[in-house]
């Protein structure tokens, strides 16, 4: 049985994460991840994931790579892409205690996108987050040690600028 305070903290972390993306705030996105070197974010399709094909749409396997992801978006790509808003909807599905203060969680997601230039909203991707989360009992807060966004959507309807 997972304590309610832990589920609440995980739900709160998800809310921070999706708010960061929906507000295009990459520093807040980074703040949802553990400060440890091993922190990682991967975005891939269920087809790749289920067939042990490691190539992903985004593959940031260290804290440095996560910070570089933010640099891509805010500095390197600035002014070249057609900007779009996202709106993420998530639901916590399961939490398991894996010891050492860490928890494995699954959260389903659906993400809509609305290009600035058309204003027409479409589905960007649906799928499930597979997370390893570190819980800090002192302030009942938690951070992602790893977040893997696995999309049912095998063919994305456009190129991704922002993580999912």
């Amino acid at each position: 049985m997972i304590a309610a305070k832990i589920k609440d903290a995980i739900t709160g972390l998800n809310a921070n994460y999706i708010s960061a993306l929906d507000n295009k705030n990459m520093q807040d996105w980074l703040a949802a991840f553990s400060k440890t070197y091993e922190a990682s974010y991967i975005c891939t399709s269920a087809d790749n994931s289920e067939n042990d094909l490691p190539v992903s749409m985004m593959y940031d396997d260290s804290r440095n790579r996560l910070e570089d992801r933010a640099t891509y978006i805010t500095d390197i790509w600035a002014g070249t892409f057609q900007d779009y808003r996202t709106r993420h909807f998530t639901q916590l599905l399961s939490v398991a205690d894996i010891g050492s203060g860490k928890f494995a969680a699954k959260t389903s997601f659906q993400v809509f996108f609305t290009p600035d230039e058309t204003g027409v909203s479409e589905i960007l991707a649906v799928g499930v987050y597979e997370d390893i989360i570190e819980f800090n009992p002192k302030d009942c807060s938690c951070l992602f040690v790893s977040r893997k966004a696995v999309t049912d959507t095998g063919v994305l309807p456009r190129y991704l600028v922002y993580p999912i």
């Binding site: 992903s56 749409m57 570089d68 063919v155 456009r158």
Partner: protein, 391 residues
């Protein structure tokens, strides 16, 4: 043949924007190009490494199955039962000893032979199972790359590839002995011709990453191959020197053995693009879906002899560098969309960089010219039967 017309400008460096947007032209392209006398890459043998492995795909609107048959050969079948035409296989990939059409339980082996059909005694006089295999389009392999054509008039694959063969071989890591690492799949809101019209001029200008990383292009060449104007690029690799922009530069490292041709691009008429850059080996299988969309399956590979460290390096680089969300390529995706929006306006798209004479196709070009596209456009114009003004 459909009778579609389009006035083509007299100057060889102009392309009418209408060519990218008209539905009647797209229909004629299916007939004359996609189902016509051209070779189309649809898979690499490394995607189906074991006997019984298959993948389903399509060429334009035609559904196909690529199989590694039990006899060891790679075959391509139309994904349609030889009986009533029902789609035979629905899985994206798998491993099977037989394919069964569920409609009337007709059963085929992996060589495509019909091996079972219930109630055959009541079939038409003279019915024989040997007359009802799964149909196969003409298929040829180049270093594991599986090509199909639906026309019996298509030249040999060797002639189709022409002098591009050596660049393609380097791109396929020397011998085509590849291991599949995974896919990135995306749809672009773009005409297929815009997707395949990327030039040597734009790279240092559009892609800010090259400037921010102080990453200059190496010495190299761009060339056209065959009457179709296939495009080849070969460049030496250079090191990104101003790398303070990134905290982790390991995704820009080259761990391969020969940097002299460390960057290769192969662009085949009509839609295929493949690239090897640093340690990324990427085949992009692309299919048009109407005049306004193209779906691209970026398939990434390692070499079968790579050690674990090299495979992991390729996975990191493949995922982050040159795909639809790659560090130095995301802007291409953006341009595919934006150029298609712009192509709905009147007039012509104009090529300039490297054009010395508007009355002919240049035979040679510099690595950063945009004239590499012109021979292909001329071939396209001829295949489509579009008359040049004043001709």
């Amino acid at each position: 043949m459909s009778d579609v017309t389009l006035d083509w400008p007299q100057e060889y460096n102009k392309v009418p924007k209408e060519a990218f947007t008209r539905h009647d032209i797209y229909k004629a392209e299916l007939e004359r190009i996609f189902y016509g006398p051209e070779w189309h890459p649809i898979a690499h043998a490394a995607e189906v490494p074991n006997k019984g492995d298959f993948k389903t795909t399509r060429l334009a609107e035609v559904p196909l199955i690529v199989t590694h048959s039990q006899d060891g050969d790679i075959r391509v079948f139309f994904n349609s039962c030889s009986h009533r035409g029902n789609q035979v296989e629905t899985a994206l990939r798998g491993n099977k000893t037989e394919f069964e059409c569920p409609y009337h339980r007709w059963l085929f082996n992996t060589e495509g032979d019909l091996i079972g059909c219930p109630n055959a005694k009541e079939f038409s006089p003279g019915f024989e199972k040997k007359d009802y295999p799964l149909e196969q389009p003409r298929t040829e392999l180049f270093m594991g790359v599986v090509f199909v054509t639906f026309s019996d008039k298509t030249c040999s694959l060797t002639e189709f590839l022409g002098e591009l063969t050596s660049t393609f071989k380097d791109l396929l890591l020397g011998d085509g002995q590849l291991k599949l690492l995974g896919y990135q799949k995306v749809r672009y809101k773009s005409n297929w011709k815009s997707y395949n019209d990327n030039d040597g001029y734009h790279a240092p200008l559009l892609h800010k990453a090259f400037r921010m990383l102080n990453w200059q292009g190496g010495k190299g060449r761009q060339y056209n191959a065959t009457i179709r104007g296939h495009l080849g690029f070969e460049s030496a690799l250079t090191v990104a020197s101003g790398t303070k922009t990134l905290k982790d530069n390991s995704i820009l490292e080259f761990k391969g053995s020969d940097p002299s041709k460390g960057s290769c691009i192969v662009g085949l008429f009509p839609t295929f693009v493949a690239t090897k850059h640093l340690d990324v080996c990427n085949l992009r299988f692309a299919n048009p879906d109407g005049p306004d969309h193209i779906e691209v399956h970026y398939a990434y590979f390692a070499h079968v002899d790579d050690d674990d460290e090299m495979v992991q390096h390729r996975v990191r680089q493949s995922s982050n560098l040159l795909g639809p969300s790659g560090l130095v390529s995301m802007e291409d995706a953006s341009v595919f969309h934006r150029i298609h929006i712009g192509n709905h306006t009147p007039g012509n798209a104009v090529f300039q960089k490297g054009v010395h004479d508007t009355k002919s196709i240049p035979e040679t070009m510099m690595q950063n010219d945009e004239t590499g596209q012109l021979k292909r456009w001329e071939y396209y114009r001829e295949v489509m039967g579009f008359q040049r003004k004043g001709a």
